[in-house]
Symmetry: C2
Subunit: 397 residues, 2 copies
């Protein structure tokens, strides 16, 4: 599909480049030249939903001129999150739009990536909240963060109030989604008091690790369920070092006799909250451990199986089963989100919220588009193959 | 097991009978004689959990003397509810205690039945709330209502403020459990407004029929799911006559194309609430029809299958899955329950809450214990065999 508006815009853009060197005095010419040079973005896009390794392409396009209200940013880092991949596959309810205008593409394409950290390069005259050199994260989803540069507004960005030495780009790039999800789930559903327990599946995930650390800080104890694996002892030690009270495997939890062990751990306290990112038997088994009136919160379905709960858990144990979706919560509570994100930044800075294990995939300025796409796809392939719980992050240098 | 206290008590009771005829003047003697004659109770009991037709027995025992605070009542009617049967089977979390003293039994036995209507025969001197001839229903569960007589207190009873002509014994005997459950579920979980829809499985059950009628009165529209059967057209007409907006079979609901039909019915309204007494596929299918933010309430598990919901319904559609148990709610809200029961009485009187279809099993005063047990077991057998949605009720004449 050919967009007349795009053709017009690209022609305008190229005529402007040529024209600027001729018509403007040197200082302004340099400025304009620089900006136009800067304001080319390279982005990972897709023209149709499908398998990410097949449909993801790289695409270059000129960014619009800076208006008094806009902010030119360059990306420093952006993770590959499960929701991003599901958006590419077309199985996620919120999806970036296929478009031609913004990306100057003849074929409509969508930009991937939702979480990311940027550095401000240039601000419009009316922008007072940001200055060049400031760093920020995305305030909303669907911005398209797998790219080199973008033109944003103050509404798109949440400033990072710490230096690069205090919070690294990689830390900032993963601060808003997983820890915020964990923070909300720990505080919004059950009447959790210090000394209370929660239990979670997928404890080794980014959210799981954040829940362990935030829970510890809130005074909550945790039973953390993980899949059995060769290096299970190492993983248990790892999670315990973050503050996990107990780490158990799916198999241990499934054993009926294990209930007695858990009762001994809990004593007179109770397990008021279950966090679920799997579905299937593990979910049923954590729900069985909940105290009367307990709450189960589902935020993921990594086992690709439904949540299956005996009717007796609902009727006689008064268990309530909820869902949590950060995007919905963020849209409904933008200010609370900013408050929580700032609290998370301060915890990262204080060393109380450890980095998730990451694999970093580096884009450099000298790379060709082919090389950039190749690096990106390696990150995607690692994600798809499980990544052993490691977060895949694109780092732009 | 022999209880010394019981032996002593029975000896005391028989010596008192003999003694009363000798020691008291005629008027008081008659009174005492009458009371002692009245104060024999015949009750359906069980000494161990198991199949109801095997473990249920009939047992006669003397009731304690009336104290100033107590009330002698005779039962007029008592239903056989699913929870009663589950208590006998030992699969219900609240169960009547096995005891010897109150029932003067050498072997500990438990009395069955939870719902029932009584007529007051005699009241202690300190009782002002009730007088002979008053009718009442049980305020709490576990009273043991499958019996002829009992000694109660004002705390055990909720007075029926209408005459026998206004509300029959059979109507009163089924007023507290099913309609109260339906009332609560319709009003406590979702923000239902007039014009909103609810959808329910087991629409032909006692609760289902009450929900249809109460829902209509509240201005709610309903999609009522029933199992397919030979006389399905008759059943649809029957439920529609109660106020069901739509009646569909499990099979119709399971058809993916049916979603479109439902959308046409709903128009711009939404299905905010699902009531579930089955489990299994029907439950999954009603949950799929709920609007974003909808609530599913499970109060029964007639299909003996769990509640199975895709994780996406929790995460992206923000469905919350609750349980409802009348016993818990009643214990927590005794005054609210009385208010609702009185509203239900007024609706029955006004003809706005139609009788559930019943089979009546009659106990008469002249029957032998064997005959009474035989009649009772016929009711139980009919219940176990499905009863085609008819409520089994013991009527004491």
């Amino acid at each position: 599909m050919i967009s007349l508006r795009n053709i017009a815009r690209r022609e305008l853009a190229s005529s402007r480049k040529l024209g600027s060197a001729v018509l403007f005095p040197r200082t302004e010419m340099l400025h304009v030249f620089n900006r136009n040079y800067s304001a080319q973005s390279k982005a990972i896009v897709f023209a149709s939903h499908g398998k990410p390794l097949e449909v993801l392409k790289i695409h270059s396009f000129p960014l619009p001129d800076l208006t008094p209200e806009s902010i030119l940013v360059k990306f420093l880092a952006a993770p590959i999150n499960p929701a991003d991949i599901n958006q590419v596959e077309g199985v996620y309810p919120l999806r970036p739009p296929f478009q031609t205008t913004e990306v100057s593409s003849e074929t409509p394409v969508a930009m991937g990536g939702n979480e990311g950290v940027v550095e401000v390069l240039e601000v419009g005259d009316a922008v007072s909240e940001f200055k060049p050199g400031d760093r920020a994260i995305m305030r909303h989803t669907l911005f398209g963060t797998w790219r080199t540069k973008a033109v944003a507004t103050t509404q798109d960005l949440t400033k990072i109030p710490y230096s690069k030495e205090e919070i690294s780009a990689v830390q900032a790039a993963t601060a808003s989604v997983n820890p915020t999800t964990a923070y909300n789930m720990l505080t919004e559903f059950a009447d959790m008091r210090p000394g209370d327990w929660f239990i979670q599946t997928g404890a080794n995930s980014g959210v799981g690790r954040a829940a362990i650390q935030l829970g510890r800080r809130f005074g909550f104890k945790s039973i953390n369920v993980v899949r059995n694996r060769d290096d299970i002892d190492e993983l248990k030690k790892d999670l315990e070092s973050l503050g996990a009270t107990k780490v158990v495997t799916d198999e241990e939890l499934a054993d009926k006799g294990f209930r007695k062990v858990i009762k001994e751990w809990i004593g007179s306290s109770s397990i008021k909250l279950g966090l679920n990112c799997t579905g299937g038997d593990s979910t049923t088994n954590i729900a069985r451990q909940l105290a009367e009136g307990g709450h189960l919160v589902t935020y993921g379905g990594m086992a690709r199986k439904p949540v299956t709960l005996p009717v007796s858990l609902f009727i006689f144990k008064d268990i309530t089963s909820h869902g949590y979706w950060l995007s919905r919560w963020s849209d409904a509570h933008p200010n609370e989100k900013e408050t929580i994100v700032n609290e998370i930044f301060s915890l990262i800075k204080a060393g109380e919220l450890k980095d998730v294990p990451t694999d970093e995939w580096v884009w450099t300025e000298n790379m060709s588009e082919e090389e950039m796409l190749d690096v990106f796809k390696k990150g995607v392939a690692t994600y798809i193959n499980g990544a052993k719980g490691r977060k895949q992050i694109i780092v732009m240098k």
